[in-house]
Amino acid sequence: MSIKVITVGEKILGANEEKAKVNKKRLDKHGILTINIMSSPGAGKTSLILSTIKHLRKKARIAVIEGDVASSVDAEKVNALSIPVIQINTAGGCHLDAFMVEPALDNLPLEKVDLLFIENVGNLICPNNFALGEDIKLMIASLPEGDDKPYKYPAMFADTDVVLLNKTDLEPYLDFNTNAFKKVVTGLNPDVIIFPVSCKSGAGLEAWFAWLESVLKGKKSK
């Protein structure tokens, strides 16, 4: 039998992108601002979510989807604040994808949510390649990781809308060069917004809260 070549020319993850559009449409229908939070393990994703819940909970109805390889320790911390939270365990998977987020949305009271945080699996290699249906991609980089991370994971930094540079309280003890970090990140991604913060001391968080509140207002008025 003769061999025939069929031209495809399609992204391998095209089906995920289509599902992410379905998720986005559903979230938009409810006027929900959705933020996909990505970072290496231990950079401060859960700390940022908890600080932001405490500050904003009287102004916005918040829900959280927690993605982890295993365990529900993060979800329990959110649950302790009486915030709706859904845990996704990826069973070894290193990222969330749009197909995992869809059933989580089925289990959230979407009509009572203004702001949804999706905490991705801690990993800098691939989560940016899997759209979930978010409005905003947010990365947390932390000082102990070193200022060279954008060279090692350039695609993550090129794709993100916002970078929170966390653990600034450790600056006196580390050799992290903040200007060098900002220079390479804005070089890769000229539109990125960078907030230096410390979730521990609270330094810099006011600017992040103010920005987030303004984006929330923008989403509501759409």
Binding site: M1, S2, I3, K4, V5, I6, T7, V8, G9, E10, K11, I12, L13, G14, A15, N16, G92, G93, C94, H95, D97, I125, C126, N129, F130, D148, Y151, P154, A155, A158, K183, V184, T186, G187, L188, P190
Partner: protein, 113 residues
């Protein structure tokens, strides 16, 4: 571990295209993968051999065309390969750069019988 979901996606895409063409067997799948895509070819092949059993793509060869990283200077538009930790343009030393190639992750074609 993301290779597992990438492999599932590429198998279903290949089977969809093969079925549309009423093919009886997929013999080769030609993929274009950038160096920055984080996809390890050997890993994909391993998963593929396992999950394609009992499909018309069982035994198909996966061919990976790897695309190297290239950057474009945002100031003078020179395209260059990053060779140092500064990623500075070799002509004008500007550090504002755009990733041109190296992020590809697509299926170029399939070969069927």
């Amino acid at each position: 571990m993301h290779e597992a979901s990438i492999t599932e996606s590429l198998l279903s895409l290949a089977l969809e295209k093969a079925n549309e063409a009423r093919a009886s067997k997929v013999t080769r799948i030609n993929l274009v993968i950038g160096e920055l895509s984080g996809v390890v070819g050997d890993c994909v092949q391993f998963y593929f051999d396992a999950i394609s059993k009992n499909t018309i793509a069982s035994g198909a060869a996966l061919s990976f065309e790897t695309k190297p990283v290239s950057l474009r200077c945002r100031s003078c538009e020179k395209v260059f390969s990053p060779t140092n930790h500064e990623w500075a343009c070799p002509d004008c030393r500007e550090t504002g750069v755009e990733i041109v190639t190296g992020r590809e992750c697509y299926m170029e074609s399939i070969e069927v019988e």
